[in-house]
């Protein structure tokens, strides 16, 4: 009976989407899948708890550098052979490294899913990590670093995180520090790989047109795959808790044309699901859409800013809210006063119900819009399973719809101006 109720709720909240299936392989690695019959492509998404937060003192940039090196091949696959095969099959592949995790994803036509899965697991879990390849790829990673350093807004954001997070890994650039990148060798990288790419730290997520026979055939092969045979770590890695340091900073940046006001707040981590949902709602009410508090006040009424964004980064060691306002340097003091007034005003006076509902609708629709394609679904279920969260896709909607104003109200206190690390970035 409970099952029926749950599935009808899911059908009402996410019409047309089925139920997420989950399996544990002999190695303890997990596989999750959500078939999506109308999608044109299958997405295979391998997630691993191996983000930059797990780098040790002399391993700056290693998580991301390794993500690059994975594509340099395995014992079975020559450098470039994987991309060549996937693309010849009509697919594409990519990868992304974050603070907490890294994931490698492939999109392929359904007929190629079996082969793509085999190649992907071999590539990621048995990388060759050849020293000569590493020398060449180091050049590419250094070019990527230089490219990002030529974007002054990215430099300003990086500086804010460094000032606010201090020695916590979230304060260090994911791309790494140049001097350390220049020193890493293949042996260092192998140690990092073997320490972190362990069975309990890996989840394979599948979505797209996967008829049950095909899914079963895939699963049958996974037990004997590198994922099914991956050694265990014997524990689950987590990073250190984040405590952001409030403060006020001011710094010029070369080639900046407009000033930036940047603010960061330290917030509850991803596992605190209701608190994070409440913050999602609070930040949306503050800065999503023209009628949100900050956009309406600073951009529409006072015309002080070109844009103002407030982004909630849901992270494992502690989430971050990041505010960016783009304005003229002379207007910075007034911009700060107005932002402070809006933030403090909401602590004192709870928002009216209509504003609350507006934000709820924006968030629920945004979540639904993100589940349209196989890649979006695989990312949500893969990341969810990796961090051991409930698998039902409608669950975040259910939490959001049940949020009461008194649960959201404390979020505004968490976003108080005095809790923020502030950076005024100025054109030099």
């Amino acid at each position: 009976m409970g099952l029926v109720l749950a599935s009808s709720l899911s059908e009402r909240l996410l019409p047309g989407l089925g139920t997420v299936h989950s399996w544990t392989l002999p190695s303890q690695a997990q596989v999750v899948a959500l078939p999506l019959s109308d999608a044109p492509l299958v997405c295979l998404d391998l997630w691993c708890r191996a983000g930059s937060v797990f780098e040790q003192a002399d391993e700056s940039g290693m998580a991301h550098f390794l993500e690059h090196m994975v594509f340099k091949g395995s014992e079975r696959q020559q450098a470039g052979a994987f991309d060549l095969r996937i693309e010849a099959l009509g697919g594409s592949s990519n990868a992304a490294t974050g603070f907490d995790d890294v994931h490698y994803h492939v999109l392929v036509p359904p007929a190629a899913a079996g082969e793509a899965c085999e190649l992907l697991l071999d590539l990621v879990l048995a990388p060759r990590l050849n020293q000569q390849d590493l020398e060449m790829e180091r050049q590419v990673v250094l070019e990527e670093l230089a490219q990002s350093q030529d974007q002054p807004d990215e430099m300003a954001l990086q500086t804010l995180l460094q000032l606010g997070c201090g020695t916590h890994p979230y304060g260090h650039p994911i791309l790494g520090e140049r001097d350390q990148l220049e020193a890493h060798d293949a042996a260092d990288m192998r140690r990092f790989q073997q320490r972190l790419y362990r069975a309990e730290h890996c989840v394979l997520a599948l979505s797209g047109p996967l008829p049950s026979a095909m899914l079963q055939a895939l699963l049958d092969r996974l037990a004997e795959s590198p994922l099914g045979r991956l050694p265990t770590a014997g524990h689950l890695s987590t990073g250190p808790g984040l405590q952001l340091m409030p403060g006020e900073h001011r710094q010029p940046f070369a080639r900046l044309e407009a000033a930036r006001l940047l603010m960061a707040w330290s917030l509850p981590g991803a596992e605190q699901r209701e608190a994070v949902a409440a913050l999602d709602l609070a930040t949306s009410l503050l800065a999503e859409g023209r009628r949100s508090r900050l956009v309406e006040r600073l951009r529409e009424q006072l015309q002080l800013v070109e844009s103002i964004d407030l982004d909630l980064q849901v992270l494992e060691c502690g989430s971050l809210a990041l505010l960016e306002a783009v304005c003229e340097p002379d207007d910075l003091p007034q911009v700060r006063r107005e932002i402070d007034a809006v933030l403090l005003g909401l602590i004192d006076t709870p928002p009216p119900a209509a504003e609350f509902e507006r934000s709820r609708r924006l968030i629920c629709n945004g979540y639904r819009f993100g589940l349209e394609a196989a890649a979006g679904i695989a990312a949500v279920i893969g990341n969810g399973a990796l961090w051991q969260r409930p698998l039902a896709l409608h669950e975040p909607l259910e939490i959001m719809l049940q949020l009461q104003p008194e649960v959201v109200q404390p979020s505004f206190a968490l976003l108080a101006p005095q809790r923020a690390c502030v950076l005024e970035a100025l054109p030099s």
């Binding site: 492509l41 070019e143 230089a146 609708r361 819009f369």
Partner: protein, 431 residues
């Protein structure tokens, strides 16, 4: 994909409506595509159509800016209006249950945007600030300079956001006539998603009550026009890297030569198996980001190679890029390269129909350009008749004299310029 998944009808007033049912978690994507865009900005008013587009969401009919934003945001919908080179597009994404209430607004925005002076002032100021902020991005600077080399002051010669000096004085007086012309060159409303029957009814009723007149889409091709002066431009910036953009102006999407050029773009720049990725990044470690930019245009389409590299390697990168370009002119693709390009092109088709928004974008573009609704299928079928020799012939027709734009520190620019001056594709000795 079968093209007959789409049903088309004509609304009162002449607006073409195309709809497609697709199972999606209870949502609808809509595009109102109106021919024109920044290529129709009047002389001395560059940026006018983007400004006009921005104003569409700032009040229409009985609704002022605040009421319109309230209506859309209270339903959790996403609305945006933007001009690109060939069109002005109003996009909406919303829950299926809200579609009937929100869709008539799109047509109302196009036909009866208020253009309130205080909203013009806000939107104009935002666009001016965005133009200023774009100058922080060396890719943007390099691209602007190449655009000027390729298109001069022609219709594709400026960023849709405009030029600050010409945007600054724009007022209602200049915008109102542009608004009145909207739709005369063709428009189409495209809907994709979980569509309820009342969507069409609501649009029908709104148009019957107060029709917005729109011609059938299918604008004629924008004519080829001359570029600016010179083939090399250098922009000094205090950056670590030099950005290189090498390109030409080619042919329209509907032109028979466009498909071979697209296949060359796929061969050179699509994915990690592509020629430039393998040569520049994997074999030489010259760049992180390298690719080929070739948008879908109804006029002379830019075909631009781009990469960024450290200043000390700028000379080497310039020579390597020019050598690759030369190779394309002198040497047909090998059998393996040609097969891979075909497979990737075929695969790409599925990538463009993963979301309702992608489906709507593609259909709006095809109908708007006046191309047959089975254009994609025809292109896929045509690749079978092409071969490496045909691609080379098209390369020799369109890619003969590439122009180069460079942005970065002085020593990098100097090295790149020396490489350009030595190379026979650049300013070097010709055979």
């Amino acid at each position: 994909m079968s093209p007959d998944c789409w049903t088309t009808s004509t609304l009162p007033g002449g607006l073409l409506l195309a709809q497609r049912q697709r199972s999606a978690p209870g949502l609808v994507a809509a595009r109102l595509w109106i021919a024109g865009g920044s290529s129709l900005d009047p002389s001395g008013q560059r940026g006018a159509h983007q400004l006009l587009a921005g104003l569409m969401t700032r009040g229409c009919g009985q609704l002022d800016a605040e009421a319109l934003a309230d209506l859309v945001e209270s339903r959790g919908a996403a609305l945006r209006a933007e001009a690109n080179e060939d069109s002005l597009v109003i996009s909406l994404k919303c829950a299926s249950d809200d579609a009937a209430a929100l869709l008539p607004l799109l047509v109302q925005m196009a036909g009866a945007a208020t253009l309130a002076p205080e909203q013009i002032a806000i939107e104009r100021q935002l666009n001016l600030q965005t133009l200023q902020r774009q100058r922080e991005d060396p890719f943007q600077l390099c691209h602007e300079a190449l655009r000027t080399l390729l298109y001069g002051t022609g219709p594709y010669g400026h960023d849709p956001l405009g030029v600050a000096d010409e945007l600054q004085p724009l007022e209602r007086t200049q915008l109102a006539p542009l608004q009145a012309r909207l739709g005369q060159d063709g428009a189409v409303l495209v809907l994709a998603g979980s569509l309820a029957a009342d969507c069409g009814d609501a649009l029908e009723a709104a148009q019957a009550h107060q029709p917005w007149r729109a011609a059938a889409p299918g604008s004629p091709l924008l004519a080829q026009h001359g570029g600016g002066n010179g083939r090399l431009v250098l922009l000094e910036q205090d950056t670590e890297q030099v950005v290189l953009m090498l390109g030409v102006s080619t042919t329209a999407l509907g032109d028979p030569d466009n498909l071979p050029l697209r296949l060359l773009q796929v061969h050179l720049g699509l994915g990690m198996s592509s020629r430039l990725f393998v040569e520049m990044r994997e074999a030489r470690g010259l760049a992180y980001d390298v690719g080929v930019h070739m948008p879908a245009r109804r006029g002379p389409t830019p075909f631009i190679w781009h990469l960024s590299t450290s200043a000390e390697r700028a000379g080497e990168a310039t020579t390597a890029l020019l050598d690759e370009w030369q190779r394309l002119l002198l040497q047909p693709l090998s059998d393996a390269e040609w097969e891979l390009a075909q497979a990737k092109y075929l695969g790409q088709e599925a990538f463009g129909r993963q979301t309702c928004g992608q489906l709507a974008d593609r259909q709006a573009l095809l109908l708007g350009f006046g191309l047959p609704s089975d254009f994609v299928e025809r292109c896929l079928a045509r690749t079978v008749d092409l071969d490496a020799a045909a691609l080379q012939a098209v390369a020799q027709r369109w890619l003969l004299q590439p122009r180069l734009s460079l942005c970065g520190p002085a020593e990098g620019l100097a090295a790149a310029e020396r490489a350009w001056n030595r190379h026979r594709l650049g300013a070097g000795p010709q055979d």
